[in-house]
């Protein structure tokens, strides 16, 4: 029992350390400009000051941005689930020439710095006429080496015999994929989905580059707009961060269990 107490204590302390920055951001977002500049820092705002939130919403059309971010992130998530599960399936179950080479090529895409290919990509998107559109924001990210890798690892843990059994039962490859692999891999797919969503939601450079109107902008650019105001006080910026982070925080809390399960199941033998 004493051991548990110690463990709880450590957990609580570590938890607080990890949460502290964001908690503080929440506090500051409710402080008046004066409080945010005070030294020593104010940890309990004298009064709840919500003007920063109004200001944040006024400075950037955050609601539109959030909707955009959701549309884009969801499309990317769905796209990645489709492409990655297909590719992962091929790498895990099928035999074809150059499989190993192709797999290494897939993995190597993880290593290409995004900044170094952003300009050619911009031209590709422009020549497709996809500037300032959801397609332009989403399509380039619909394939992911990480996702493919993750799903392949998971698929490999599915008992090989199931594949054999299904083939004998008369199941084609595609049908096996749809009726067996996908339902059996829900945790891993959920993991990929959460991960894909979070990363897309947090993109900055790309949306900035290819969008031209507020109607297409995503939340991270909203943050950049708010950053201008930090000149004198933190509260508006922090309010913006809190608003923008809210959807992902909720998603994480909802998806965390799946996330652990998905990654865990990936290494436990079915």
């Amino acid at each position: 029992m004493k051991k548990n107490c110690v463990r709880y204590l450590i957990l609580i302390v570590m938890g607080l350390i990890i949460l502290a920055p964001f908690f503080y951001a929440v506090i500051v977002s409710f402080e008046s400009a004066e409080d945010t500049l005070a030294f020593p820092p104010v940890f309990v705002p004298g009064e709840i000051y919500i003007k920063s939130y109004l200001e944040a919403f006024r400075t950037a059309p955050l609601v539109i941005f959030i909707i955009n971010s959701f549309v884009v992130s969801l499309s990317v998530t769905v796209g990645q689930v489709i492409t990655c599960s297909l590719a992962g399936y091929a790498f895990a179950f099928l035999e074809f020439p150059f499989k190993k080479v192709l797999f290494i090529i897939f993995l190597s895409t993880m290593m290409i710095p995004a900044e170094s290919i952003i300009i050619p990509n911009y031209f590709t998107i422009r020549s497709l006429g996809w500037l300032d559109s959801y397609q332009g924001l989403a399509v380039p990210f619909m394939a992911s080496a990480f996702g493919t890798f993750l799903l392949r690892q998971y698929f490999q843990t599915l008992p090989r015999e199931i594949y054999d059994a299904a083939r004998i039962d008369g199941c084609g490859r595609l049908r096996f994929f749809l009726t067996m692999v996908l339902p059996l891999s829900k945790p891993a797919i959920a993991t990929l989905a959460v991960y894909a969503f979070l990363t897309t939601y947090n993109q900055y450079m790309w949306p900035l580059l290819i969008t031209n109107t507020d109607g297409m902008r995503t939340v991270q650019i909203g943050l950049a707009m708010l950053q201008w105001d930090q000149g004198i006080s933190w509260n508006t910026t922090m309010a913006g961060i809190v608003i923008v982070s809210l959807p992902t925080v909720i998603l994480l809390i909802a998806g965390q269990k799946q996330l652990v399960k998905g990654l865990t199941a990936g290494s436990v033998k079915g």
Binding site: L37, S133, L208, D214, A224, W228, G231
Partner: protein, 454 residues
């Protein structure tokens, strides 16, 4: 058989996906439909967010309301750097905006990009009277006797000081230091130390900002680059590695060394916060943040402003204006160009500039704005701003105060900041650091010039 039906289902799904995408994707284009007496649509890229962005949007809206035949679509493009990068992409893909806000040091690049229409073209065409515009401000954006872009948001640096602390230190709160030497002496007096001699409150906090260095050069009537600061001909080398440049760095480093000034890094926000929260007595910052500082201080102490200091004995110097101007991009129809010009005129007209000044703290670019009643009220409220105007008007127009033109100014500024950091950290002498920076920048200048000539 079975396989086929499955395929059909998949194809159906995919089709559905595409449809959903195209529907959502096209959602916004619907309001563009319907031709006929459509207003001329022009695109305006701006690069200021927050409160300044708000004011910009308000002005654009006002313009659209007043000009039913023109529709300006204002698009925020991130900060100045992001915006100019975006412009580079759009030039290469021939999808430039009609009007764009570009920062001061992007001037050379804009000209060299060959993608702009000098506003001079329309000034000449309409015989537009620019006499009411601030001479010093126009001077910056005038290259080869052509006004390339219309100044829009303009600022200069100021010395901000805490009058209460001045009083407490036995200094005259109405007589801020004017020279490097005075600043150093006053900073020393304003610095508080604890019993062990550790500094608890430095007298001065100055961000490592290349712009300040440029100002200090201009204050000494020294040029940043050769060929008349790059204004007589394309600059082929920088000239900031001069005795004047060293003087600036030495003065700065000495103060940091003896503890009377603090190095808080490159961000002016940090020094401003230190000043506002009473952790330093003096700072240098843009006129553009005067409003913010007054709001932040909120009467806790009295804020004083003073001219940018200069070394004793230097003459004929002054401040260089900073900020951004409005550029017209080429490759658009005459109607659009005309509309753009109307928009630019509107944005820099006295009434709008007065509003702009009140909302943002930037200078009105036109002296006519000072007749505005609202502005008068505002300046009465913030007498500190008068100093800024005085400083501007006291500045003689010469090659030094016009500011340097350099295609690689961003890089140069960064190299300077790097050099300052080295000197303040005591890792290099002023001379060596500046020389090294100059060498790097000169290489870049050579490369830039060669890529422009082609």
């Amino acid at each position: 058989m079975q396989k086929k039906s499955l395929w059909k289902r998949i194809a159906g799904l995919l089709l559905l996906g595409v449809m959903v995408m195209s529907i959502t994707g096209c959602g916004d284009s619907s309001n563009e439909a319907g031709k006929g007496k459509e207003p001329t649509k022009i695109v305006f890229w701006y690069a200021v967010g927050g409160k300044v962005g708000e004011a910009t949007k308000t002005l654009v809206k006002e313009f659209n309301d007043m000009h039913p035949d023109i529709k300006v679509e204002a698009v925020f493009q991130g900060d100045y750097d992001s915006a100019i990068n975006k412009l580079k992409q759009s030039i290469a893909s021939k999808s430039t905006p009609n009007v764009m806000q570009v920062y001061d040091i992007g001037t050379r690049f804009m000209i060299d990009s060959k993608a702009v229409v000098p506003v001079q073209k329309w000034i000449d065409k309409e015989n537009f009277d620019t006499s009411s515009y601030e001479k010093n401000i126009l001077a910056y954006y005038t290259v080869d006797n052509k006004l390339y872009s219309m100044p829009f948001n303009t600022s200069t640096p100021l010395l901000y000081y805490n009058k209460d602390m001045f009083k407490a230190a036995g200094l005259d709160p109405d007589n801020p230091p004017k020279t490097f030497e005075e600043v150093a002496a006053d900073a020393q007096k304003l610095t508080q130390r604890d019993s062990s001699g550790k500094v608890t409150r430095p007298g001065m906090a100055m961000a490592i900002y290349g712009w300040f260095f440029e100002q200090f050069l201009a204050e000494q009537n020294a040029q940043y680059a050769n060929n008349g600061n790059g204004r007589d001909a394309m600059a082929t080398a920088v000239s900031f590695n001069s005795p004047q440049g060293e003087k600036v760095l030495n003065w700065w480093a000495d103060m940091v060394k003896n503890g009377s000034a603090v190095n808080m890094g490159r961000k002016t926000e940090d020094t401003m916060k230190a000043f506002v929260s009473g952790q330093t007595a003096m700072t240098i910052d843009s006129t553009g943040v005067l409003g913010d500082i007054m709001d932040g201080v909120n009467g806790k102490f009295e804020v004083g402003t003073g001219f940018m200091p200069h070394p004793e004995g230097s003459a004929n110097g002054g401040v260089i204006i900073g900020g951004a101007s409005l550029w017209m991009l080429s490759g658009h129809s005459d109607a659009e160009e005309k509309a753009s010009w109307e928009f630019i005129k509107f944005m820099t007209a006295p009434k709008q500039q007065a509003f702009w000044h009140i909302k943002t703290g930037y200078f009105p670019v036109t002296t006519a704005a000072y007749d505005d009643d609202e502005l008068k009220k505002y300046d009465a409220k913030y007498p500190q701003f008068k100093i800024a105007i005085e400083q501007l008007h006291n500045t003689p127009i010469n090659r030094s105060t016009q500011g340097g033109l350099l295609g690689v100014f961003t890089q140069a500024r960064q190299e300077i900041e790097n050099a300052i950091e080295h000197v303040l950290a005591g890792q290099a002498s002023s001379q060596d650091a500046l020389q090294k920076a100059a060498d790097t920048v000169n290489d870049a200048v050579a490369r830039y010039n060669s890529s422009v000539e082609k």
